[in-house]
């Protein structure tokens, strides 16, 4: 297999060709290195092997969510449904595998069913987008609320705790120093990358972000691909919800709280454009690491909890600015 030429800078405003590999693609990895080195210099706890493993482990769930959201962002759409979809999947899996609430012991099948439920919710977002022509911002916000409602219904006042062996092993068992959860995240990134590079779904998602109308002119029906992308994203969120459940040994309605904005931040910090057509899974993976290194580093160097969010916000803005500034153009469109 050969792969397409490396992505180079797209001039959104001027469709003239630009030469050379863009700095924008090397910016985020550079930022990651700079932030990592800075924290390492500031704190010896930070640069320990154990802490690096810890960063990878804590990044796992966000990485999986970000894999899903990246496909949506590549199309130029947005997805705010992660909290609801993850919550529904978390409760669903907790009630399907061995647990304290009912006699179910479906194991892996239970996990798959929970992911299927999540994919179905994602599919609803996509269908509402293409059939009702409602912007994804709203369809996914709506589906998130629906997911939380379903999760609350299933929760029904009593905390479901799981005793399933497979799930219990994910956060605990280690391979080469990293937990199974982390390996699952790696697998997701790899699968996401393969989908993005080598499948029609991935390439079309990318193309939809580049020039949706051209696909239609070429006789491609984009609607099914859009629905498929939201479904795929839902499946990733579902898996992430299952992962949270395995970490907590319990199904929480709030399992996905905050993951919507965190994942978008990670993707954008990694160089995926909210306007679509640029970036991808590897970019997002770098973005996830930037966010997680920041979060961890701030605790390690002992920044006051009050300030942590603020410092993180500042650094994210600075990181994006540093990545964007070198290729700033006069008549650039910044949304």
């Amino acid at each position: 297999m050969t792969s397409p030429a490396e992505d180079v800078d797209v001039a959104a405003a001027r469709p003239q060709p630009r030469r050379g590999v863009s700095l924008r693609d090397s910016g985020p990895p550079l930022a990651l290195v700079v932030i990592f080195v800075a924290f390492s210099a500031l704190s010896s706890d930070f640069r320990s092997i154990g802490n690096v493993q810890n960063i990878m482990d804590t990044a796992a769930v966000l990485a999986v969510v970000t894999c899903g959201i990246t496909f949506v962002l590549m199309m130029g759409s947005i997805d705010l449904s992660a909290p609801g979809v993850m919550g529904a999947a978390a409760i669903a899996v907790a009630l399907l595998v061995a647990n304290n609430r009912n006699g179910n012991e479906l194991g892996v099948i239970g996990i798959l069913l929970a992911i299927l439920l999540a994919a179905a919710l994602g599919c609803v977002s996509g269908l509402a987008l293409v059939l009702l022509k409602v912007p994804s911002f709203m369809t996914t916000l709506g589906v998130s609320a629906v997911g939380l409602g379903l999760a609350t219904l299933m929760f029904n006042g009593v905390q479901p705790n799981i005793t399933d062996g497979t799930l219990a092993s994910w956060p605990v068992e280690r391979l080469l120093g990293l937990s199974y959860l982390t390996w699952i995240a790696f697998a997701c990134v790899l699968v996401g990358y393969l989908i993005q590079r080598y499948t029609r779904l991935g390439r079309y998602a990318f193309a939809i972000g580049g020039a949706e109308e051209v696909l239609a002119l070429s006789g491609v029906k984009v609607a099914p691909y859009k629905v498929a992308v939201f479904t795929l994203a839902g499946a990733f969120y579902g898996l992430a919800g299952v992962m949270v459940t395995s970490q907590l040994s319990a199904g929480l309605v709030q399992a996905g709280k905050g993951y919507d904005f965190a994942a978008i931040t990670a993707a954008v910090v990694g160089g995926t454009l909210l306007t679509g057509g640029r970036g991808g899974i590897l970019h997002s993976a770098v973005g996830v690491l930037i966010v997680m290194v920041l979060t961890n580093g701030l605790v390690q160097v002992g920044v006051s909890p009050y300030w942590q969010g603020g410092v993180q916000g500042l650094i994210v803005v600075a990181a994006v600015a540093a990545a964007v500034l070198p290729q700033r153009r006069r008549n650039q469109v910044t949304k």
């Binding site: 792969s3 405003a13 590079r197 193309a207 002119l217 006789g219 057509g277 006069r330």
Partner: protein, 520 residues
């Protein structure tokens, strides 16, 4: 999958049956009858020209032929069979494919993907890409038209001309879809190409004729006569006749297009008298450098039209943008009418009396969903305001006046500009700089791109009148002929540098060949 068709051995229909026939096609849009009973015959193995003024209905007709526009009534026959075309795919299955007026490639995909887009065939199996196969499929197409671009290059890294080749390579994929000889529609493919590229394209068109029918649209009538076997003329949504190209002159075609014996005031023929007074310097550029140009010196006097010529990548476009504050500069000094010019923003440029008409009309020139009126008064808000307050009456009468003066075809001043034909859109964009009457320097990047002869003449006349009233003009012309015809002086740019200044007084114009020698 789709059986690869070999045009030589495919069942050839009877040679007398037209490849495509359109009968009494009608299409209404709110306020306009875009097609008003059009008839058209495309014979097998011919290149049919389609001519008509801006807004005559050419693009609408062609879009109906590829299923993008649903006609209100009328019939379309393909090789003697009546068909209904409801989508691009259906049209492609009947062997009809189109290259659109505005380039339509996905910029962030590879050329190969664009070429096979929607008909990947063996390039995709079970939803999985087979890049090598896809590259080969694309390479085949590119070989057919003799293009040597890398199929795996990202499309937005290709030059405009190369992208046009990708479009043609792509449209030829319909051979794979239909057993029949294809009908290839080219809507203004040359308006963005340079002469060398146009020659390459024409070679391809002539080659296509061997096994296909071609419908070709261009506002450059000499081109139409050159490459076509026959020309059909549309006016106001109706077919008004056809011309065999052998022995016909552009003027004949033009007369048919406008329906009168209007004077053919094309730039070649016009004897244009300039006053002999010494010219007052208006724009003065010293040592201007930017990302893509270096050390450019240029003087433009009030009332002077200076053309800049150069091949793609010569940097001339960025010089214009830099003067308008839309592209950063690294060094140099620019004065306008003796005052140092602030190059930091487009705002400052507008305040200094500079106007700019960008080449990329759709993206940079107009705000599609806004009305004709709002587009026209967007820059010169003062023209429709009393103090800071907008006066709707003032705007409507001003706009209506300019709609009439420039013969802009629009149902209403309130119509969204994106609903106008390309030529009429361009006129609105030009009018934007004229409504206030306070322009001192006009930077025109391909201002006649996509305009019909009549509209072009209007733009030329307008440019000259503006020059007469003291406006300095920098022109990046559509063709060398246009540059020569319109300019008082020509500057040749190559590789980011202004290499040569060629005087171009009326009566003593250089030939295109003279310029080409300087350009390379």
């Amino acid at each position: 999958m789709i059986p690869p068709a070999n045009p030589e051995i495919g069942q050839q229909p009877h040679p007398m049956v037209p490849a495509l026939e359109v009968k009494n096609l009608v299409k209404h849009y709110p306020g306009v009858k875009a097609l008003d009973g059009v008839d058209l015959v495309v014979r097998q193995n011919e290149v049919l020209g389609l001519a008509g003024e801006n807004g005559a209905g050419k693009s609408t007709l062609l879009k109906a032929l590829v299923g993008l526009v649903r006609p209100d009534s009328g019939e379309i026959w393909v090789r003697g069979e009546k068909v209904r075309l409801r989508s691009v795919v259906e049209a492609a299955n009947h062997g009809i494919g189109m290259v659109f007026q505005e380039q339509s490639l996905v910029p962030n995909l590879t050329a190969a993907e664009n070429i096979v887009l929607g008909s990947e065939g063996a390039g995709v199996r079970g939803g999985v890409y087979r890049w090598e196969t896809m590259r080969k499929l694309a390479q085949e197409q590119l070989d057919k038209i003799g293009s040597d671009i890398n199929p795996l290059a990202r499309t937005d890294t290709l030059s405009f001309a190369d992208r046009q080749m990708v479009e043609i390579a792509k449209v030829l994929r319909i051979e794979q879809r239909s057993q029949h000889p294809p009908v290839i529609i080219l809507d203004e493919p040359t308006s963005v190409l340079e002469s060398k590229e146009i020659e390459t394209l024409f070679t391809q068109v002539r080659r296509l004729r061997e096994f296909a029918s071609v419908v070709f649209v261009s506002h450059r009538l000499d081109e139409v006569l050159d490459v076509c076997d026959r020309v059909s003329v549309l006016r106001g949504g109706q077919s008004v006749g056809e011309v065999a190209t052998a022995g016909a002159a552009p003027a004949d075609l033009h007369r048919m297009m406008i329906g009168s014996t209007g004077s053919d005031d094309h730039y070649h023929d016009q004897a244009y008298e300039r006053s002999a007074e010494p010219l007052r310097p208006m724009l003065s550029i010293r040592g201007l450098s930017g990302k893509t140009f270096r050390d450019v010196d240029l003087e433009v006097a009030a009332g002077e039209i200076v053309g800049i010529v150069g091949v793609h990548g010569s940097g001339r476009e960025d010089v214009c943008r830099a003067l308008f504050g839309a592209e950063p500069t690294l060094a140099g000094e620019v004065t306008l009418d003796g005052k140092r010019l602030d190059l930091s923003s487009t705002r400052a440029a507008v305040a200094a009396g500079i106007g700019y008409v960008p080449a990329e009309r759709k993206i940079e020139g107009m705000v599609g969903p806004m009305s004709v009126a709002d587009n026209m008064t967007l820059t010169k808000q003062q023209s429709r305001c009393a103090g800071p307050i907008v006066m709707p009456k003032r705007q409507s009468s001003l706009v209506d006046r300019w709609i009439e003066r420039l013969s802009i075809r629009t149902p209403h001043r309130g119509t969204q500009i994106q609903r106008l034909s390309g030529g009429n859109q361009q006129k609105v964009v030009l009018a934007r700089w004229l409504v206030a009457g306070d322009i001192r320097l006009l930077l025109l990047d391909h201002p006649t791109r996509g305009l019909d002869i009549g509209a072009r003449s209007e733009v030329y006349r307008l440019m000259r009148e503006l020059a007469d009233s003291g406006v300095a003009t920098v022109l990046l012309a559509d063709s060398l002929e246009e540059a020569i015809g319109m300019s008082d002086r020509i500057v040749v740019m190559s590789d980011g540098k202004a290499t040569k200044h060629v005087p171009c007084p009326s009566g003593d114009k250089p030939t295109p060949l003279d310029l080409v020698k300087e350009m390379v």
